[in-house]
C-alpha cells in the first residue's frame, strides 16, 4: 500500500459527487469556508426569528397566532441544526454565539429590515422564505454531509412557511382596498431586499468561485435570483399586485424575466451594520442571551449536582 494522497482522495470524492464527512480529510480553506457559511446561515435563522416574533402578540386571530408561533419555533430549530453542523467542523457554539453577539459574524441582510405591518408577515413568509428555499433546495446536495442533511430537514419544514405567507397575502390582496394597499406596500418594501438575499452579482461575488469548485454551491447567485423572479411573477400576478420595477418584463429569447438589479450600495451598507434594524437586532440577541445566562448556569449546576458526568465515557 502506497502513501495516501489526501488531497487527491478529497478531489476524487467531489468528482464522484460523494459527500465529505466530519472525519474526512479536507483542505483548510474548505473547512474555513464552510464554518463561515454554515454559522452565518445559523445566525440568519436565529436573528430571523425577531422580525416575525414582533407580530406574535398582535396576530389578528388565534389561528394566525398559532401559525406564526409554529413558524418562528421552526426557525429556532433550523438555527440549532445548523450550529451543530458547523460544530462538526471544529468550531464551538460559544465561539459562534460570541461572534454574533459582538457583531463580528454576519447574517442575512434581509433581517435588518423592519416588519411594519401585518402584511409584512405575509411578505416575509412568501418572499423571504421563498428565496431561502430556493437557495436551500440547492444546498440539499452540498458536498458537506452534515450541512446537506440539515438542509433536507429544513426544506421539508420550510414549505409550510412559504405557503402560510402566500395565504396571508391572498387574504389581504382580495380583501378591502385598504388591505390590498397594505399588501402592495409590503411587496414594494420587500422586493429588492429579497433579491439581495441571493448575494452580490456573480462578477463581484468573492466567495462564489471556491464554493462552486468545492460543490458547496451548485448554482450561482445570479442563476438563483433569475429563477426566483421567474417563479414569483405568476404568484404576484395572481394577487393582482405589481413589483416596484418599471424594467420588469418577459424576455422571450431567454425564457425568463428581465428585471432591475437591487441597489448594491444599499446592500453593502446594510451588511456593514447601517441597515434600519441592525442595532436593534443585535441588542435583542444580546439581551436575550444575557438574561438567559442564569438558566444556563442553573442547569449546569443542577447537572453537576446530580453527578451526571456524561463527558466521561
Amino acid at each position: 500500500m502506497g502513501v495516501i494522497n489526501f488531497e487527491e482522495l478529497f478531489e476524487a470524492k467531489l468528482a464522484k459527487n460523494e459527500m465529505i464527512e466530519p472525519k474526512d480529510w479536507m483542505p483548510d480553506n474548505y473547512r474555513k469556508h464552510l464554518i463561515r457559511q454554515i454559522s452565518q446561515h445559523a445566525h440568519s435563522e436565529i436573528v430571523g426569528m425577531l422580525p416575525e416574533g414582533n407580530w406574535i402578540t398582535r396576530a389578528p386571530s388565534l389561528r394566525s397566532k398559532l401559525v406564526l408561533l409554529a413558524k418562528v419555533q421552526d426557525e429556532g430549530g433550523h438555527g440549532l441544526y445548523l450550529y451543530t453542523a458547523a460544530e462538526s467542523l471544529g468550531t464551538s457554539r460559544d465561539e459562534m454565539l460570541d461572534a454574533l453577539h459582538t457583531g463580528k459574524a454576519k447574517y442575512s441582510s434581509i433581517f435588518n429590515y423592519p416588519t411594519l405591518t401585518w402584511a409584512d408577515v405575509g411578505a416575509v413568509g412568501w418572499l423571504v422564505d421563498g428565496a431561502a428555499i430556493m437557495n436551500q433546495v440547492m444546498l440539499q446536495r452540498t458536498s458537506y454531509g452534515p450541512y446537506a442533511r440539515a438542509m433536507v430537514r429544513i426544506c421539508k419544514e420550510e414549505s409550510f412557511h412559504q405557503r402560510q405567507g402566500y395565504e396571508l397575502m391572498t387574504h389581504l390582496a382580495f380583501g378591502t382596498p385598504a388591505q390590498k394597499e397594505m399588501a402592495q406596500d409590503a411587496l414594494n418594501r420587500w422586493w429588492y431586499p429579497t433579491l439581495m438575499m441571493f448575494g452580490p452579482p456573480d462578477v463581484e461575488s468573492p466567495n462564489s468561485e471556491n464554493a462552486i469548485k468545492w460543490r458547496i454551491k451548485r448554482e450561482t447567485n445570479d442563476q438563483l435570483r433569475q429563477r426566483f423572479v421567474n417563479q414569483s411573477m405568476p404568484q404576484i400576478d395572481y394577487l393582482g399586485l405589481t413589483v416596484p420595477d418599471p424594467n420588469l418584463k418577459w424576455n422571450e429569447e431567454k425564457q425568463g424575466f428581465d428585471f432591475s438589479e437591487p441597489n448594491w450600495a444599499e446592500f453593502k451598507n446594510v451588511i456593514k451594520g447601517n441597515g434600519p434594524c441592525n442595532k436593534e437586532r443585535l441588542a435583542s440577541r444580546n439581551k436575550s442571551h444575557n438574561e438567559g445566562a442564569w438558566v444556563r448556569e442553573a442547569a449546569m449546576a443542577f447537572a453537576k449536582k446530580q453527578n451526571e458526568n456524561y463527558q466521561a465515557a
Binding site: 430549530g77 451526571e308 465515557a313
Partner: protein, 96 residues
C-alpha cells in the same frame, strides 16, 4: 470541544414506527439526559417524525476512521461466498 456553556453534545436517534430500526437524525446540546430527551422531542419530532427517541452522549460514540477504511473493511472484499448468488441451484426446485 463541545463542553461549552450550552452543555455537552448528544446524538439523537429516532424510531419512526414500532418495529423499525432507530435511525440517527442529528444532535443537540443539553445539560443532562432528561433535558437531552426533551430537547430532542422539541427539535426533531415537532411533526410526529418519531414515536421513540434515543439520546446518546456524543463522547460515547466510537467511530471508524475514514483513513483506515480500506484496510478496516478489506476482510469482506474477497468473500463472495457469503452472498446467496454465489451458489448454483438447479431449475425446477422452486424458489429458494
Amino acid at each position: 470541544m463541545n463542553n461549552d456553556s450550552q452543555g455537552p453534545l448528544w446524538e439523537v436517534f429516532l424510531q419512526k414506527k414500532a418495529g423499525q430500526p432507530f435511525v440517527h437524525c442529528g444532535n443537540l446540546h443539553a445539560y443532562d439526559k432528561e433535558m437531552a430527551l426533551q430537547n430532542a422531542r422539541d427539535l426533531y419530532t415537532r411533526r410526529n417524525e418519531g414515536m421513540s427517541i434515543w439520546v446518546v452522549p456524543s463522547s460515547a460514540i466510537v467511530a471508524s476512521s475514514p483513513e483506515d477504511m480500506g484496510s478496516f473493511f478489506e476482510p469482506a472484499n474477497d468473500k463472495i461466498y457469503r452472498h446467496p448468488t454465489f451458489y448454483q441451484i438447479p431449475d425446477g426446485v422452486g424458489h429458494m
